[in-house]
């Protein structure tokens, strides 16, 4: 059984009461207003990105205007391409590495648990609680000594280490939902453990792995602290590009919003897709 079944069974009574109550709920209206309020800065960012500068600077906010793609073009002219590619590369490769290291580890901590499983889990989580700021100085020294300063691979390694604990915990919680007998049955049939995992377990947990990957993508794409300290021009990611852009284009809001939209949009979409599993990732699998 997957989580979606559980979620359905939890939400089922709610669905029923929907039929009973057809009348207007004022609290629903309140929820809509608050929701739109929270969303407003993002909406405004996207809207302003399509404005001419002249429409962006108005003491009374302008909601209606002639849209333009000029500002996006201007951002591309400023070399956003490199930053986009860097972000894409760092995010993709680090997420693949996280899965390559994390899926086996999660398996070894759930379905075929090793000794001291609790200790290993504790260790993974505690690394996530160490403030990164305490490690940045030696990281800078080490990275510059091995010649990886302003090199995207430095970020890839760090993003892998940043997301691996979350991924291990999250994927472990998905593995634990697989009935143990399945693996036993497969091994009784004479299949090797690896084959049993590949053919029986992995298809079952693949939605969970996909959700984990999306959450890793969000965190890696949004990361700024390592990126700003360890990269400059060649390996800069989108958040670093945005900061540099502000220094140069501080007075051009429409252009800034176009750049910010390009930085934010991919992960917002990833997050919307993964929203049902977001809680599990954020709470290390403790809450489903």
């Amino acid at each position: 059984m997957t989580t979606t079944d559980v979620q359905k069974s939890v939400e089922a009574p709610v669905q029923k009461s929907k039929v009973k109550r057809r009348k207007f709920d004022p609290w629903g209206a309140v929820a809509w207003i608050v929701g739109l309020g929270f969303f407003f800065p993002v909406f405004w960012m996207v809207l302003t990105a399509f404005k001419h500068e002249v429409d962006a600077y108005t003491t009374t906010p302008k909601f209606f205007f002639v849209p333009t793609l000029d500002e996006f073009k201007a951002v591309f002219d400023q070399g956003v391409g490199t930053a986009l590619l860097n972000s894409l590369f760092a995010t993709t490769v680090s997420t693949i590495l996280v899965l390559a290291l994390g899926v086996p580890a999660a398996f070894a901590l759930s379905l075929r648990p090793v000794r001291k499983t609790q200790d290993a889990l504790f260790f993974f989580m505690s690394t996530k609680m160490l403030p990164v700021v305490a490690a940045i100085i030696p990281l800078y020294v080490i990275v510059s000594n091995i010649g990886l300063l302003d090199n995207i691979w430095a970020l890839i390694i760090l993003y892998t280490s940043m997301n691996l604990p979350i991924a291990v915990w999250m994927m472990r919680s998905f593995f634990l939902e697989v009935p143990g007998e399945l693996l036993e049955a497969a091994s009784l049939d004479g299949a090797s453990t690896w084959r049993a995992v590949r053919e029986v377990i992995l298809p079952l947990v693949s939605p969970g792995i996909a959700a984990t990957a999306l959450i890793c993508v969000i965190f890696a794409w949004n990361e700024f602290f390592f990126a700003v300290n360890l990269t400059a021009v060649q390996a800069q990611t989108m958040p670093v590009f945005l900061v540099g852009f502000i220094a140069g284009e501080g007075l051009y809001w429409a252009k800034l919003c176009a750049a910010a939209t390009m930085a934010a949009l991919p992960v917002v979409l990833a997050g919307w897709v993964a929203q049902n599993k977001l809680v599990r990732g954020l709470s290390f699998g403790a809450i489903k």
Partner: protein
């Protein structure tokens, strides 16, 4: 069937499996075969996260300034004495604590209210939920940029425009209330996080308990306080400690909105350490401050770890 019950079930199975794996009859080779898949991840994490930290400890005992070659020498605990005697450090430390405590408190309260709203049935609930989680997804640098410019700008900002009927005119929020401005951005970003955790709690709540309470004649407020809040407690606790652990690292918002200024009015420890290390090149003292932040974080983190392990074993559900 609730999620919690499932958790108990799988956890019991899991413990049984661990017991089985720990059978002394299991051979050494079998042990290594089980451990095999775990080792690459474990070794990677030890190398990448623990070694730099050991270096931080070592650097914190050095007097080392990058712009003065040959200045690297052992000074023992002198850096720590200097840091503790530095009044700026204390101001920044207080800022850090304020930023964490206020942001977490406000986000938890707002998150609770929003979760209660979203737990109701209304048209477009899924859409509203999607809108509400967006601030948490937006690249923090982009979010902070929007707050600094489009929202809080003294002349063209939306906030002043909205407040102008109430007699607020051209307030330069970011320079007059730098710390508050940063916190507004952080609350905006973290409320969705709290909301999601608390909403998960609300939806895992057995509905029959509330029914039973209503039958017993309890009022709405009483029901909420006695049943809902006590059920939500562990979700709120978890949100609080996780939020605090993540907020210790706040850097993007400060960097983007105020650069810690004016002076150090809105600087927090990560930003101050960054300034000392990468703009002041004072490696020794910055490392010492890093160690102090770690100790501070470990106090909060120990609560977080205990809570997460508790929710896995599901013990408090029986109580």
């Amino acid at each position: 069937m609730t999620t919690i019950e499932r958790q108990d079930l799988t956890e019991a199975e899991h413990v049984a499996r661990i017991k089985k794996a720990q059978d002394p009859g299991v051979s050494r080779a079998e042990g290594w075969r089980l451990r095999g898949p775990l080792l690459p991840a474990l070794i990677f994490m030890i190398v990448v996260t623990q070694i730099p930290f050991l270096f931080t400890l070592y650097y914190s005992t050095l007097s080392w300034n990058l712009v003065r070659p040959g200045s690297r020498k052992f000074v023992g605990l002198q850096n720590y004495i200097d840091v503790v005697g530095d009044s700026t450090f204390w101001q920044v430390a207080i800022n850090t604590v304020l930023m964490i405590v206020i942001t977490v408190l406000v986000s938890v309260v707002l998150g609770l209210l929003l979760a209660l709203l979203l737990d109701r049935v209304f048209l477009g609930r899924g859409v509203v939920r999607t809108l509400l989680i967006t601030p948490f997804l937006v690249t923090p640098v982009a979010g902070a940029l929007m707050w600094k410019t489009a929202m809080l700008d003294p002349v063209f900002g939306i906030v002043n425009w909205v407040l102008s009927p109430f007699g607020v005119h051209n307030v330069d929020w970011v320079s007059r209330f730098p710390l508050t401005s940063v916190m507004i951005n952080l609350v905006w970003q973290w409320t969705p996080f709290m909301m999601l955790l608390i909403l998960a709690g609300l939806q895992s709540m057995p509905k029959d308990i509330l029914e039973a309470g209503r039958v017993d004649g309890a009022g709405a407020f009483q029901l909420f306080r006695e049943l809902t809040l006590s059920h939500l407690r562990r979700f709120i606790e978890l949100g609080t400690v996780l939020g605090a652990v993540y907020l210790v690292n706040t850097f993007d918002a400060v960097y983007m909105m105020t650069q810690g200024g004016p002076g150090t009015a809105s600087a927090n420890l990560p930003f101050y350490i960054y300034q000392r290390a990468f703009l002041g090149f004072d490696i020794g003292q910055a490392a010492a401050m890093g160690v102090i932040v770690v100790i501070f974080t470990m106090v909060i983190a120990s609560f977080a770890l205990r809570l997460i392990f508790k929710s896995f074993s599901g013990k408090e559900e029986a109580a």
